[in-house]
């Protein structure tokens, strides 16, 4: 199975904001909620591939900057009335550090 990789310190992610992680294959946006819950999602909107890392986060949702689709960060699903889904990645926080499962 794939392994956990440390990517960033929790406090380097702005609250209700994101950091962009570039891996060899894909770009991943890591978000931090106001409750310090962390989410990781592929940095591409299911609509037209907009960079979700650049959107505004609220609750556990991000609004895509290109056409305002709202994406649920825990499932990757677009909220009604839109339909679509982006990959989400397993993510955990230990000792103030954020790990991604890749």
């Amino acid at each position: 199975m794939s392994k956990w990789i440390e990517v960033v310190e929790l406090n380097k992610i702005p609250v209700l904001g994101s950091r962009l992680i570039k891996t060899r294959d894909t770009d991943i946006a890591v978000f931090r909620g106001s409750d310090d819950q962390v989410y990781a999602i592929r940095d591409a909107c299911p609509h037209k591939g907009g960079p979700l890392s650049q959107g505004i986060m609220h609750g556990s949702t991000v609004t895509c900057p290109l056409h305002n689709w709202k994406i649920d960060l825990s499932s990757g699903n677009a909220l009604a009335p839109d339909h679509g889904c982006s990959n989400v990645f397993a993510v955990k926080v230990e000792g103030g550090r954020v790990f991604l499962q890749l």
């Binding site: 209700l16 962009l20 570039k22 609220h58 900057p65 339909h83």
Partner: protein
């Protein structure tokens, strides 16, 4: 529970509407499989005309994308044509061999364009107008060739001709008879229509019958029975449609013109098979418009859901032409006979024609041209068989004639009864719409569309729906719902919140949210951005801007483009520049390999296609050359556009460029409720187009006229004159005061034009003109707020601020 299998053949408007209705009634009853010959999801066929005219895109007319099928557990076989139905084994078989078993089957294969069997009709470039493929062909042809011939001057032919003309082709419409749209229009209306289309550049050959299509592989000309010829690179046949019964016939279902169905939409041959849409014939009629098909869809869905109570008894139809700028409505019997009387109104000068046909004091038909607002009312009177003797005299003036001088649709829709049909395509009445607006607190056209489907099909009732919306939520309606809350997170309005921020000394977003009982913990993108602005405006020196409550353009200080790259627009004060500055920009462009540069309408230079990571370095170089951010990305002061002015222009009365530079130096960097633009023209010739700007200064010999509240864009609004002043110092003071009053009073995302229309010019004049002390205080507050605002955000970031925003984390995995 064992689910039955439902198969739909034909992924078009009628078929998929049936599925939508069915899913509402019985979401889990069937395993659904759909076969569609076209390689797409389900789209709004009637909007192909606006697509051809470049008024809409294919994307905008998609009704259900592929995700919809997935979400509803529907198997979609797109691009697969069904070639056989085996009724004994209850199977359908597609050309590629795919087989699906059914317990219930829906045939919705639509119709095919009727192609005249002329010699040469099989040449390349001869097509019908039916689907996306046809539109693609037309668009591709228009980009290469010049001459289009449309055969058939009916609804479809004229929409095709209009679209092709919009694409730049020379279009000739060939029609067999001497009047256009003879099935929908009488002669006078048809003549007015022809005249106005001819004025737009369409050519007509009336009473011409096509004999032959000439050319080698590809069409080059069309010859008529009278021997004449015209050149043609594209021939669109729009002479009618033919119900697509091929499959039904081969399956042994009884067909006449269409597949014959009963009042339950079941084929009369096989009750397991439903047929719906343009391929069917019901009580002798095969329909060619969507309104009847949507009614049929409801009935079929009702039976498929095993409710078993609906019957389809036919539909009375009305027609509108979807050519932008031409208003046309027709319904019922508009020619009349010796039993009927006509009431006619014609004003050729204003391009208005109305004819109503009455029999025994009931409306039997109507044709309207130029002014169609009352179409739905006449249509309603006709369907209800209302006795009109009481208001016969004023019938032609519409429902709301008394004391209404203009063509004001707002007041007219208000007087419609609740059962008046507003959206003919989807059969939605005024009452339904008003109810949805008030109960569900709808405020936008899109919301009304989503909830009621009104105006969601052909769109020609959009104006009526908007008027209803304006009227229902607007200020002067008895059933007005509560004033509009800032967003869904709170019940309070923009004004409540702005006042509350000052009155209760609320200085942070959480404080505001708590005071005003927010329903969400962090707000949403609408209120976060608004609150951030309101707090910044109220406490300019204290409030710490929250980057996460700004739209990405403002957070990254550049405009995000459709590919996720950014644009960079350095400020060029008053549009003035030096050769050194241009050289510096050129150097930066070379160094960062900028793919595209453009001179903007705001008189500065836009560099596109910049990667986010490059932004700080690029800004650093620009900053070193003396440039600051142009704020082309923000709800902020954008630019001051200037004309040449007295320094060089022989008409110039004042130094418009110099004043423009001073104004931009005063106002740059200011965050505003929305974007904000200025212009200065050196004389009333107004080369800087100052009268469509938020503030426009027009210089005259004796001083400066200050104009406010103008707007270009979708809805142009010319400025109102605020006042005239004598000196440049006064221009600066009044401008600063106006900016501040707008900043403090308008709602977030409200531009000056709608703001002034909402609050009234008088209020602005009072604040700025009547009370010199107040003006000076406003100006003073503006200057204070400008101190932090004029710290260049680019330089700050080039020097390391917000570095995380611009630095991705690289992982070797």
């Amino acid at each position: 529970m064992h689910k039955e299998n439902l198969v739909l053949i034909g992924n078009g408007m009628a078929g998929v509407r049936t599925l939508e209705e069915l899913l509402k009634l019985a979401p889990d009853h069937y395993n659904i499989t759909v076969f569609g010959e076209e390689p797409y999801g389900n789209y709004n066929r009637i909007m192909l005309s606006p697509v051809l005219a470049s008024e809409k895109t294919i994307e905008q007319i998609m009704l259900n994308g592929e995700q919809w099928y997935i979400d509803n557990g529907i198997t979609l076989h797109k691009g697969k044509k069904v070639e056989q139905i085996n009724r004994a084994r209850r199977e359908v078989i597609a050309t590629d061999g795919t087989v699906a078993h059914y317990d219930r089957l829906i045939i919705a294969t639509g119709s095919v364009p009727f192609m005249l069997p002329l010699p040469g009709a099989d040449k390349a470039g001869v097509i019908g107008f039916r689907d996306i493929k046809d539109v693609d062909t037309m668009l591709a042809t228009a980009s290469q060739y010049q001459h289009a011939v449309v055969i058939g001057g009916g609804l479809l032919g004229l929409e095709a001709a209009n679209g092709l003309m919009k694409q730049g082709m020379n279009v000739t419409v060939v029609h067999l008879l001497d009047t256009l749209m003879e099935r929908q229009l009488d002669k006078p209306a048809a003549a007015m229509l022809q005249k106005s289309l001819a004025e737009r550049g369409m050519t007509f050959l009336m009473e011409h019958s096509t004999a032959e299509i000439l050319g080698q592989e590809r069409v080059t000309a069309v010859r008529f029975k009278n021997g004449t010829e015209i050149p043609a690179d594209l021939v669109v046949m729009a002479v009618g449609i033919k119900p697509n019964t091929e499959l039904g016939k081969s399956a042994g279902l009884y067909c006449e013109r269409g597949i014959v169905v009963s009042d339950t939409m079941q084929t009369i041959t096989d009750p397991k098979i439903y047929a719906i849409g343009e391929c069917v014939q019901h009580r002798g009629i095969a329909y060619g418009l969507v309104a009847p098909l949507f009614e049929q869809a409801k009935v079929a869905a009702n039976h498929l859901a095993k409710h078993g109570i609906a019957r389809y008894v036919g539909t009375v139809t009305s027609t509108k032409l979807k050519v932008t700028g031409i208003e046309l409505f027709s319904a019922g019997d508009f020619t009349g006979n010796d039993q009927t009387e006509d009431i006619v109104f014609k004003d050729a000068a204003s391009g208005t024609y109305k004819k109503i046909v009455l029999q025994d004091n009931q409306v039997k038909g109507a044709v309207l041209y130029g002014d169609t607002v009352d179409g739905s009312w006449y249509f309603q009177l006709m369907k209800d068989g209302t006795d009109v003797s009481a208001f016969r005299d004023t019938l032609l003036f519409g429902q709301h004639h008394l004391g209404d001088s203009g063509h004001n649709p707002d007041t007219r829709v208000a007087s419609l009864p609740d059962n008046a049909e507003i959206c003919g395509c989807n059969g939605v009445c005024k009452g339904d719409i008003v109810k949805a607006i008030t109960e569900k607190k709808l405020f936008t056209l899109d919301e009304v569309r989503a909830h009621t489907k009104a105006s969601a099909s052909c769109g020609s009732c959009t104006g009526l729906v908007e008027s209803l919306l304006a009227h229902t939520v607007g200020g002067d309606y008895s059933a007005t719902p509560k004033t509009k809350p800032l967003c869904k997170c709170t019940d309070y309005t923009h004004d409540d919140i702005r006042h509350g921020i000052i009155q209760h000394n609320l200085k942070t977003m959480p404080a505001v949210r708590e005071h005003f009982e927010w329903k969400t913990p962090d707000g949403c993108p609408s209120c976060r951005n608004a609150l951030n602005y309101y707090l910044l405006c109220a406490y300019p020196t204290e409030y710490v801007d929250d980057a996460q409550s700004r739209y990405i353009n403002e957070r990254a200080h550049g405009n995000i483009q459709k590919d996720g790259s950014y644009s960079v627009v350095p400020r060029m004060f008053g549009g003035m520049c030096t050769s050194d500055q241009l050289r510096a920009i050129a150097d930066v462009a070379d160094k960062y390999q900028v793919p595209t540069m453009k001179v903007t309408g705001g008189q500065r230079i836009d560099m596109f296609g910049i990667k986010k990571e490059q932004l700080p370095a690029m800004w650093k170089d620009l900053s070193a050359a003396g440039f600051v951010s142009g704020h082309a990305y923000g709800k902020a002061m954008r630019t001051v556009k200037t004309c040449v002015g007295s320094e060089w222009c022989r008409f110039g009365t004042q130094d418009s460029t110099g004043l423009g530079v001073k104004l931009e130096e005063l106002t740059w960097g200011s965050w505003m409720p929305h974007k904000f633009k200025l212009a200065v023209s050196g004389c009333p010739r107004n080369c800087a187009e100052a009268t469509i700007k938020d503030i426009g200064v027009v210089c005259v010999d004796s001083g400066y006229e200050l104009h406010i509240g103008g707007n270009g864009g979708i809805k142009v609004r010319v400025t109102d004159l605020l006042c005239k002043v004598a000196t440049e110092e006064e221009v600066l003071e009044y401008t600063g005061a106006f900016c501040q009053f707008y900043r403090e009073d308008a709602h977030y995302l409200e531009r000056t034009a709608p703001w002034i229309e909402r609050v009234g010019l008088e209020k602005v004049k009072t604040a700025i003109l009547s009370d010199a002390a107040n003006r000076k205080a406003l100006y003073e507050r503006f200057l204070i707020s400008q101190q932090p605002a004029q710290i260049d955000p680019w330089k700050a970031r080039a020097d390391g601020a917000e570095a995380a925003e611009f630095t991705p984390i690289m992982i070797e995995a």
